[in-house]
């Protein structure tokens, strides 16, 4: 069964500082990996996704993530954080058993940005 672990429940960074959110996954085959962002009281928005090819993927809002098969990781990064990046971030792994996408989400990391 697929699973995702986000070891950091809460992270605080200063505005302008770099950011890295950790994600480890468990999946028997080549994983389909995603990062989503959720603002308070809102739905989730897809930041980026990885299926194959270049292990460094670029997303929206200046985010990127790197797939490392040897470490079973898919960490999210941003070089310089803006106050508007404060939100909750979810890593997810997907499988496609037939006819639909089965996506398993991590428990999320809440990002706080301080001036």
């Amino acid at each position: 069964a697929q699973s995702v672990t986000q070891p950091d429940i809460h992270i605080t960074v200063s505005e302008g500082a770099s950011l890295e959110l950790r994600c480890n996954y468990s999946y028997g085959a080549t994983p389909y990996l995603f990062w989503y962002v959720q603002s308070p009281g809102q739905g989730l928005q897809l930041l980026l996704k990885y299926f194959s090819g270049d292990t460094l993927v670029q997303g929206i809002k200046g985010f990127e993530a790197e797939f490392k098969r040897s470490q079973s990781s898919f960490n999210l990064r941003k070089p310089s954080v803006h106050w508007s990046d404060a939100a909750e971030y979810f890593c997810a792994v997907g499988a496609f058993p037939g006819g639909y996408q089965k996506v398993t989400f991590g428990t999320g990391t809440k990002l706080q940005v301080i001036p």
Binding site: I9, G41, Q42, L44, G94, Y100, Q101, K102, T107
Partner: protein
């Protein structure tokens, strides 16, 4: 472009009352549709998914049911709400040829 609508945004219901949450998708045909529930600190739990009209699959046994009466309409229901049904409910859709979900804005359900 495709859009997904989910309503109501907030709902407060007494224990034992019925529930109906609606989700509609525009701008696409034959989407895969999903209902998730989000509880604080527990991530998102897949409740139901549908690959076509009248085709509903349940991931976990519970007090809820889902229906898909039209291609782009997905409804989450309950005959009698329990306190444990409180949570944030999210509808999502995906295309068969594009990976990743698009989520609605969610419904905050409080059962009192």
């Amino acid at each position: 472009s495709q859009t997904i609508h989910q309503w109501p945004a907030t709902l407060v219901q007494p224990v034992g009352s019925p529930l109906s949450l609606e989700c509609t998708v525009e701008g696409t045909s034959n989407p895969n549709l999903y209902w998730y529930r989000q509880a604080a600190g527990r991530g998102l739990q897949l409740l139901f998914y549908s690959v076509g009209i009248g085709q509903i699959s349940s991931e976990v046994p519970q007090n809820l049911s889902a229906s898909r009466p039209q291609d782009r309409q997905f409804i989450l229901s309950s005959k009698k709400l329990l306190l444990s049904d409180s949570g944030f409910y999210l509808c999502a859709w995906s295309a068969s040829d594009n990976y990743g979900y698009t989520f609605g804005s969610g419904t905050r359900l409080t059962v009192v």
